[in-house]
């Protein structure tokens, strides 16, 4: 616990990371609260198209007359949901398999390593594209598909970490005391890897947000009626010069999320890394 407090204090001193936390918190609150009182539904296409920003539509309307503010709020919600899902699923899977492989070694390790190799070899973008076709383009499917590729990263990192931790005295003594694999992993290995895991999870979220945007751009990402910031940008990027507000608002939010996450990841790394 003492270490936790120390890490927290260090993290608080990291100004950019704190800015990231604040920005992200504000954004999350906004996308949760705004829909409660905002009069325009994100699916209501009855408004006139291409209204420039005004009092009723602060961010204007798009080509079919959807309120852009409602759109961006909805897109941000789903983008964040995708990101969080990816980070939870991928991290859980990766940490579980990685620590098992690193601790047990031998056959388990070989099996997990082959599995990660397999996922490394298969080109993500092709498989993601096919899977979106085989299943559907809902945000949840896309999140699961992205998770399927991100878990290898955390598995690799956790495996290395678990391997070195397994040699340490306190693990040895726990084992000597008759603790089982599950207990050793959850009680002894995981608490000592939180830093690595947290940093990696944060950065994976940042990457997932961008990868989803990229997939949407080639038409292989989230499909309507679900949406995402990537999709909204893709739908409006051609308005870049003519009606810049249609492009720059969703773009700005995406960059904001991505920057904030990167800063937080950086701050976490600094906070955990510095040994005392």
């Amino acid at each position: 616990m003492r270490r936790g407090r120390l890490v927290l204090r260090r993290f608080r001193r990291h100004r950019l990371a704190m800015a990231g936390v604040v920005a992200l918190a504000v954004l999350v609150l906004a996308v949760l609260i705004v829909p409660l009182w905002w009069p325009h539904d994100y699916g209501d296409a009855s408004f006139p198209p291409f209204v420039p920003p005004n009092a009723e539509f602060p961010l204007g309307t798009n080509k079919i007359g959807l309120d852009m503010l409602a759109q961006i709020v909805r897109g941000t919600q789903l983008s964040l949901l995708i990101a969080v899902t990816v980070s939870i699923v991928a991290t859980t899977l990766g940490v579980a398999l990685g620590s098992l492989a690193g601790y047990r070694r031998g056959f388990t390790d070989a099996a997990v390593s082959r599995l990660t190799d397999l996922f490394l070899i298969v080109p993500q973008i092709a498989v993601a594209a096919i899977l979106v076709k085989v299943f559907d383009g809902s945000w949840f499917t896309v999140a699961l598909i992205l998770s399927a590729f991100y878990w290898t990263q955390s598995a690799r990192i956790t495996r290395g970490e678990a391997m070195s931790l397994a040699q340490r005295e306190f693990v040895e003594s726990a084992r000597a005391a008759g603790a089982g694999t599950a207990r050793i992993i959850t009680r002894h290995l995981l608490p000592n890897m939180t830093g690595t895991i947290a940093v990696n999870a944060t950065l994976a979220v940042a990457q997932a947000v961008l990868l989803e945007a990229g997939l949407s751009f080639v038409g292989l990402g989230v499909q309507l009626p679900d949406t995402s910031l990537g999709r909204i940008i893709f739908d409006n990027y051609t308005q870049f010069s003519g009606r810049p507000w249609l492009f720059f608002w969703p773009f700005g939010v995406l960059v904001l999320i991505s920057l904030a996450l990167n800063f937080i990841g950086d701050g976490l790394r600094d906070a955990f890394d510095a040994r005392t």
């Binding site: 993500q124 092709a126 085989v134 751009f217 990027y237 870049f240």
Partner: protein, 339 residues
Amino acid sequence: MGEDELNLTRYVLRRLAISVPTLLVATFVCFLLVAAAGDPLAEQRSRPGANQDAIAVLAHELRLDEGVVPRYFHWLGGFLSGDWGSSIALEPVFDKVTSAYGVTFGLVIGAEVLALVTGVLVGVVAAVRQYRLADHVATALAFLLFAMPVFCIALVLKDFAVQLNDWVRDLGLTGLLGNPWIRTSSPESLESHGFGDLVVKYIGAYLLPTLAVMAVSFAGYSRFQRASMLETLNTDYVRTARAKGISPARVIFRHAFRNALIPVATLFSLNFGVVLSGAVITERVFNWNGMGSVLVTAVNADDPYLLMGWIVLIGATVVVANLVADVCYGVLDPRIRVG
């Protein structure tokens, strides 16, 4: 030395012995996936006036009337003997995929090398001048490039290029540089008279996509190099060297830089397959008909053998790149080979 080489060969062989079966399993999994994507001829079948007999013949020829497992082994047999099958438009997959690969490879390799060189330089400077202006600028740039989707970068580049070409016209330089000079889409040819002209044409054709591919990789390399450089700068031997009074420049380049390069070189290799398939977006924006265009076509048409050709080629690239990375690492850092 002799024993070392033997060890290395053995190591490479062992890695290969693991990678090749993995690649095989990967092809099987992908084959099942591709088959699940749908019947590529369904749309043709459903047209009024469609000649069902002809479509049946075509389906038979493409072996779509067989079970997926026998079809896989038939494909694999053909594949290993050099026959990669044909697309549903009956074009040989091998020619189509390999030529697209050539296009993408040509685009990516230059961009990646440039990104590596600039990234490493910026990373070193940022590390040496940690927490000073140069470091902050480099960090900000890297974070910004990290945070931006690549097609947004491409968009800005294109607008700028059209403007630049207008200036070239206004200045009457079209005779020298060509009209248009900077191209926003792939060139039909790089036919040129003389070396100077070739350079000009090459720059015109490759500038924008290269910058777009570079942008993302550069951010990664510079951050990675900075971190790795900081680590080496803090190692005992560098501190010792410094304490001995060796000039800082010498310490940085003779001692720290070389060691800090190892992880980045490895990253370059590991990344290559990802970057290659990630060029899909850049290619699309700049209308290069490389792997990206083949992938989008194949996915939209549910074209089974074309997709398989694509997947295997990229998969093989990843295997080879990883092997190169391992070897680099093995040569540069002998400790790895033991494990």
